[in-house]
């Protein structure tokens, strides 16, 4: 896919609203069986007697779906060169079958690399929201983007 957006295109306070995707019990169980088979993620009956009162998605599933929404929203059209890490990842509400998730990305800061003049970093607040507008998961994410080539 052609690159449309470079480091220079991200400026503080920009907000991107992306969405959405509805989760089924089958998807929740499918992810959890592979990566996080705690009973409240894999067993609908047993989950009813858990502290969550029913089946909920693995937090890593929620994050991964957020990542996919971000990719489909704009990331695949950018010069993104990966992420060194994230901070303050919080799961604030359970995600249940039938929930429709959307994604909000807010630019917090952008700084050019001191050592590598062809790139810069961008810091975002990323939030996953449900159909009621509740934030179910949030984090501070940092990504590296290549700078716009001089010729283009």
């Amino acid at each position: 896919m052609a690159i449309k957006y470079y480091w220079e295109d991200f400026r503080p306070e920009q907000v991107f609203e992306i969405g959405s995707r509805t989760l089924t019990a089958r998807e929740i169980i499918g992810f959890a069986r592979e990566y996080d088979p705690q009973y409240y993620h894999t067993d609908e009956q047993a989950a009813k007697n858990s502290p969550f009162g029913g089946l909920i998605a693995s937090g890593w599933h929620t994050v991964s779906i957020g990542m996919r929404l971000l990719c489909d929203g704009y990331l695949l059209e950018t010069s993104c060169a990966g992420s060194p890490g994230i901070d303050e990842l919080k799961w604030t509400q359970p995600v249940r079958p039938g929930d429709t998730l959307s994604f909000r990305s807010t630019v917090l800061a952008a700084s050019p690399s001191r050592s590598k003049p062809d790139r810069g970093s961008v810091k975002f607040r990323w939030e996953v929201l449900n159909q009621n507008g509740e934030v179910v998961c949030s984090m501070i994410g940092t990504q590296i983007y290549l700078r716009r080539p001089a010729a283009s």
Binding site: M1, Y35, D36, Q38, Y39, S64, R68, P84, G85, L89
Partner: protein, 154 residues
């Protein structure tokens, strides 16, 4: 259901360490995860990845985290009175994970604090350090897990 387990809050004292042998990642697994959740070119397309700053295919960071979660589940989490996690303080991806890499996970308990508001539970702060077969640290994660206390569950 969280009761009647083998491990409770008290079983994760500060300084506790566990080392776990992890999986060897295949190209197919890396691409399959990324096609579903993180289809950036350097995670899904070997040819394009060669021309990326990584110089070849690398696993999604979320794939690495998810594989570690599975290791923790199999090691003890499924036998623990776990109430989930409210927060991960920090994840750092320090080194790319490539096809053929074999992961190893070291977990250390950094702190354990009984809940002030809910006497039946406590919060454990743990650090994961993930290494490849060359001993390079590929990822670290500092996160909280909530567990029932033994007297509450048994």
């Amino acid at each position: 259901m969280a009761g009647g387990k083998k491990y409770y809050f008290e079983d994760f004292p500060p300084g506790m360490r566990v080392e776990l042998a992890g999986p060897t990642l295949t190209r197919e697994e890396i691409i399959e995860f990324a096609k579903r959740y993180d289809p950036q070119p350097f995670h899904v397309d070997e040819e394009e990845a060669k021309h990326s700053i990584f110089g070849g295919l690398v696993a999604s960071g979320w794939h690495t985290v998810s594989l570690c979660m599975r290791l923790m589940c199999d090691a003890y989490l499924l036998d623990a009175a776990s109430l989930g996690s409210p927060e991960v303080k920090r994840v750092q991806w320090k080194h790319p994970v490539r096809p053929g890499d074999t992961l190893k996970l070291r977990m250390e308990v950094l702190a354990a604090q009984p809940s002030r508001s809910k006497p039946d539970r406590g919060v454990v702060l743990h650090r994961w350090e993930v290494f490849n077969q060359r001993g390079e640290c590929v990822m670290t994660l500092d996160g909280y897990g909530m567990f029932l206390r033994r007297e509450a569950g048994s």
